[in-house]
């Protein structure tokens, strides 16, 4: 019996360990491979890359050759910044308003605000395009900001509500009973305590906006081109090697951001809980 168990343990280690290694390999390898090909000397995205050069990065940073990409990047950053700011304002207010309410209406409002997370983004993107067009609005960056705010605000609501639920109500009660006004309590007690939660949510919302495809696909135009849509175009037509350089920059940015968020608000801890 002892021998059978050790055989089971060995097979367990082999199978589970093997599959886990496969999972890690599949997660990491494509990212490493893209980074390597972005430094290719050749004209195509062959692997292994031939030689080492920065030519595609130079082409990417060239203001005249890559004007369209630069405009898409600045549009994407602008939309992400505004939609996150509006999302933080409206979302944290809503979290404050709903977190302590047990009423049915509050629960319903909360599920409505979270529903963009499960609703297929394409359905909302198409609906927004039809709605804005049929009520007579012209496509503009403002409409993209509005659409992105809707699909990214759940991230802010979720982290803010989580921080609020960990807040000791005795702190608020003592502040209020000591004569502080509601606004003063909010400013000096509540906000400082939930700030990390709001910040983590804002970060996730910003990243989700930068990465958003379904809403931008329908609401962006040639004038208001967005980075993911432009990259999609670069992949669909002739495979433009500059896209490897764009990917390289985005991989570096994600890596740096991840480190910064880990040091400041402990992002991974927040995502696990």
């Amino acid at each position: 019996m002892g021998r059978r168990r050790s055989f089971a343990d060995i097979s367990y280690g082999l199978v589970i360990g093997g599959l886990a290694v496969l999972a890690l390999f599949i997660i990491v390898a494509p990212v490493v491979i893209v980074l390597m090909t972005s430094f290719t000397e050749g004209r195509s995205l062959k692997f292994p890359p031939t030689g080492f050069s920065l030519q595609w990065y130079e082409a990417l940073f060239d203001p005249s050759k890559s004007r369209q990409i630069h405009r898409a990047v600045s549009n994407s950053l602008e939309v992400a910044a505004y939609s996150t700011v509006f999302g933080v304002l409206l979302g944290s207010l809503a979290a404050l308003g709903l977190s302590r309410s047990r009423s049915k209406l509050a629960r319903a409002a909360d599920s409505l605000f979270m529903s963009p997370l499960v609703l297929p983004g394409l359905t909302f993107g198409l609906a927004a395009l039809m709605y804005f067009t049929l009520i007579g609005l012209r496509p503009s960056i403002h409409l993209i900001i509005a659409g992105h705010m809707i699909v990214t605000v759940p991230f802010i609501l979720r982290t803010t509500t989580a921080s609020l639920s960990q807040l000791d109500p005795a702190l608020l009660d003592s502040s209020l009973s000591l004569g502080a006004s509601w606004l003063y309590t909010l400013r000096r007690v509540t906000l400082p305590l939930i700030a990390p939660g709001i910040f983590a949510g804002a970060f996730l919302a910003f990243m989700a906006s930068i990465d958003n495809v379904p809403v931008s696909l329908f609401l962006s135009t040639a004038r208001t081109d967005m980075l993911p849509i432009r990259m999609w175009g670069m992949m669909e037509s002739t495979l433009d090697p500059r896209i490897a350089a764009v990917s390289g920059v985005l991989i570096a940015a994600a890596f740096l951001l991840m480190l910064i968020m880990e040091w400041t608000v402990g992002l991974t801890r927040r995502m696990r809980d």
Binding site: F47, P48, L122, A127, I150, E236, R272
Partner: protein, 279 residues
């Protein structure tokens, strides 16, 4: 502040949701009940056309199957990784969680592009296989369902791992020790103790991966190509290429209903399984 008035803080967001979320969705439903693409004649024409065409059912089935296959693949390799995470030392755990979360911060388009480089004619897989002499002609991996499922497995993996790890790290380690002390093999402990207890996380992961992979427009079109037709491609063609908005509305409502019905069935199962566990 007066507690009664606190809920009013949610009003601005409620107003925004009413005007730029609910109103568009209602209008989408309205538009689907028009016969012509100028949106002038109300009627059930587009619904009849879409639901009367056997091709539509094939596309719906293919889309759902793509989701199921991706979910199976992410569970098959993601669950073991979560188990390894559970057993790892805190330092290894930190590295693992970094590797798992990082792709989430990386644009889906970049992750999709990575697979073009891996699976392309001159890509890594073909180069390696040809150099070791397994094949003489490059395999076609792009524009196949297999290639798409492999790519989506990596692209959606963080969505499976995060809820799994979140639930698993709250499991009482004594449970596993007790199971081992009572003579159960590690396999038996896995299937009779760990899997049932981690069911809520597993269900949440499956739900997220399913919803995300069935609607992953960019990955489906770039890796799947135009020959593999899924509902998102149909929506895009009808709305932005053919400009038949009523039909596009019909297809996107179909996508919404089919994804949400699978998702709610799964979450119902998830709730039942966790209810069973807590007595």
């Amino acid at each position: 502040m007066r507690k009664a008035a606190e809920w009013q803080l949610a009003l601005p967001l409620a107003l925004a949701f009413a005007s730029i979320f609910l109103a568009p969705l209602l209008m989408l439903v309205g538009v689907s009940f028009f016969n012509d693409d100028k949106i002038t004649q109300p009627g059930f024409g587009q619904w009849a056309k879409f639901l009367g065409d056997p091709f539509s059912y094939k596309v719906i089935a293919d889309t759902m199957l793509l989701g199921v296959k991706t979910v199976c693949a992410t569970v098959l390799i993601g669950y073991p990784l979560a188990l390894v995470y559970l057993d790892a030392s805190p330092r290894v755990q930190k590295v693992l969680i970094f590797i798992i979360v990082m792709p989430l911060l990386l644009s889906v388009v970049v992750r999709t592009f990575a697979w073009i480089v891996v699976l392309g004619r001159e890509g890594v897989v073909n180069t390696v296989l040809m150099q070791i002499g397994v094949i003489s002609e490059p395999l076609r991996l792009l524009q196949t369902e297999l290639g798409l499922v492999i790519s989506l497995t990596q692209i959606e993996m963080p969505l499976m791992l995060l809820p799994l790890i979140s639930v698993m790290s709250r499991l009482d380690p004594n449970m596993r020790d007790a199971s081992a002390a009572l003579g159960a093999s590690r396999w038996r402990t896995l299937f009779t103790v760990i899997v049932p207890l981690s069911m809520p996380g597993l269900v949440a992961g499956c739900l997220l991966v399913f919803a995300s992979s069935t609607t992953a427009f960019i990955s489906q079109t770039v890796i799947g190509g135009v020959r593999l037709i899924y509902l998102p491609l149909l929506i895009w063609q009808q709305s932005l290429v053919v400009f038949n908005w009523p039909l596009a509305a019909v297809v996107s409502i179909t996508l919404l209903v089919s994804v949400l019905s699978v998702v709610s069935a799964l979450s119902y199962l998830g709730r039942r399984s966790s209810g069973y566990l807590h007595g």
